[in-house]
């Protein structure tokens, strides 16, 4: 790092603040805003998690009661299961397709710019709009998908009512929106691989498939790790998709997240407990429980990708 201004020695912190006041002032907005809108609220939510509060009346300290209730709350566990199911159903096809797309983009030179833009556009499209669209094409009665199935003389599927199909709809939405983005990320990684590696392999008689498995995949390992981790963190926080797909004008929607809560994700559950039912303390407890789940799940993903990669390379 460059050091155009000599660092102060000795005279102590007071001098530093005096000498460098423009610098401290320049970086302060971030820290002030962060303290007010993030750090403060995060600490307060930890405090809230041990209380019962409806947002208006007095707070009651309840110790671990929120967490004791959480462990036995079948709806919380169902929301976690739903979230993981949606993660699995979306991440696996998404990253696989992205890898294939990236390999194809890497192989073709012409129209590369056009393809990239076309694949990236879903990612910048409003999630609310995409959810409304998927809700309409997967509609049970008059959706396009069922129209096509009927035309093919296949019985229509109750997409928006089945426990599994609801998750499938949400997962396909996520896949549509993020495959192109991940393909672009993989493509960046592929273009950075030293072409001499491939030439050497070709001289040794390796085919394209072997090259892909022995060179591309191992070389992409850090980027694959990045996409796996980001997808895990992202899908653990799925909220808008089920909220829009199964939105209701009734605030005490008995079927939040679809029939039988089939698409109720943990963040949607948190939202319902806090903002529909005014259970702020319990909502905060759910938020912290989810935070721990995300930490644990990220660590597991990290371990799996790095170990898997090492075995491949070795």
């Amino acid at each position: 790092m460059a050091a155009p201004q000599a660092a102060v020695k000795g005279p102590g912190r007071k001098r530093a603040v005096v000498t460098f006041w423009p610098q401290y002032l320049a970086i302060s907005p971030f820290y002030v805003l962060f303290a007010v809108f993030m750090l403060g609220p995060v600490l307060f939510s930890l405090y809230l998690a041990f209380h019962k509060w409806d947002g208006l009346g007095p707070m009651h300290y309840t110790g671990l009661q929120n967490f004791r209730f959480l462990v036995k709350d079948s709806l919380f566990w169902q929301s976690l299961t739903n979230t993981f199911a949606i993660w699995f159903l979306s991440t696996v096809p998404m990253l696989f397709l992205a890898l294939v797309l990236a390999a194809m983009l890497n192989a073709s030179v012409r129209f590369g710019g056009f393809y990239r833009v076309a694949y990236f556009v879903p990612n910048v499209t409003s999630l609310v709009a995409v959810a409304i669209f998927f809700g309409s094409v997967f509609a049970n009665q008059v959706g396009l998908i069922n129209d096509v199935l009927r035309w093919l003389h296949i019985p229509a599927v109750g997409w928006m009512t089945g426990s599994f199909t609801v998750k499938l709809v949400i997962a396909s939405l996520i896949t549509w929106q993020w495959t192109g983005y991940n393909a672009i990320i993989y493509l960046a990684g592929m273009q950075a691989i030293d072409s001499e590696l491939y030439e050497a392999a070709r001289i040794d008689g390796a085919g394209p498939v072997q090259c892909f498995r022995r060179i591309t995949i191992p070389q992409l390992r850090p980027i694959i790790l990045f996409t796996v981790i980001m997808s895990a963190i992202g899908s653990m926080q799925t909220f808008t998709e089920p909220q829009v797909l199964f939105g209701s004008t009734d605030a005490t929607n008995p079927d939040t997240g679809g029939p039988g809560h089939a698409g109720l994700t943990t963040v949607l559950y948190l939202y319902r407990e806090a903002f529909d039912f005014n259970q702020y303390g319990y909502g905060a407890a759910i938020a912290w429980a989810l935070f721990l789940v995300i930490l644990l799940f990220t660590a597991i993903n990290w371990g799996m990708v790095t170990r898997f990669g090492r075995r491949r390379a070795g």
Binding site: A7, L33, M38, P122, T125, A129, G180, A188, Q237, A284
Partner: protein
Amino acid sequence: MSQAVSDKSIPATRVGRAERARRANQRAGARRRVQRIALHLLLLAGVLVSMFPFYWTAVMATNTTEDMYRNPPALVPGTHLLHNVHRVFQNIDFLGSLLNTVIVSSATTLLVLFIDSLAAFTFAKFEFPGNRMLFRFLLLTLMLPAQLSLIPRFVLMVQIHWAGTLNSLIFPGVANAFGIFWMRQYIQGAVPDELLQAARLDGCGFMRQYWHVALPAVRPALAFLGIYTFITTWNDYAWPLIALINPKKVTLQVALAQLNTAHHTDYSMVMAGTLLAVLPLVVVFILFARQFIRDVMKGALRG
């Protein structure tokens, strides 16, 4: 086609070999061509999947809902767009919510660009006590998931009477550690120390070094961060849904969701609203897309 070999000009004994080599070459060329065509067909199939929702949204938005309920439904764009749009305007305050979204996205973007580039410039080019530690702390803040602060942040907004106002959307979004990280990386490479030194010798203070030397040199990075921030803010849904407690004063995304919740069986109307809400941003994005995607790719390699 490869160049024709005239049989007469080559001695009879060699014709066979030359002819065989030529055919082998042709076969290899043909195989490559078939492969290339297959590759583009596959890639085009992907484009079709990517683009189909836009087409189908347009089909639904330009036909009547009855056309969509028929079996088979209308498959090509119709002529009822204006009628559908008119009904959207009757059901939600489309222009009002569009204006709110434009205000929030622009204000957030401008504040992020100024605050982040100034902080990034300071971190990248000045050695002051605590520089490294403060920057490390900033990176750590990226690890905090948003939902941890959700409930208390809403309580805070109610207490300072910001709930229901656009302020509640703008200011929390400005504390953007990613932007500072991104800009710092860029400034380290794009702003030469010699230039800053020269500016200092000319009597430029801290702010003038930032404004006259650093900012002009980092315009491409500002463009990327600006587009990224604008799009993310424009599309944000969860926080506006919570913070805007007055259902009459909302952003475009929230209004769109309200429209869908209340009238989701009236496809053509809902889709006309969706089309209007999506199209401007997508068109603007496409104008800047190539450079933006290049920056995303560069960023991926740094991560």
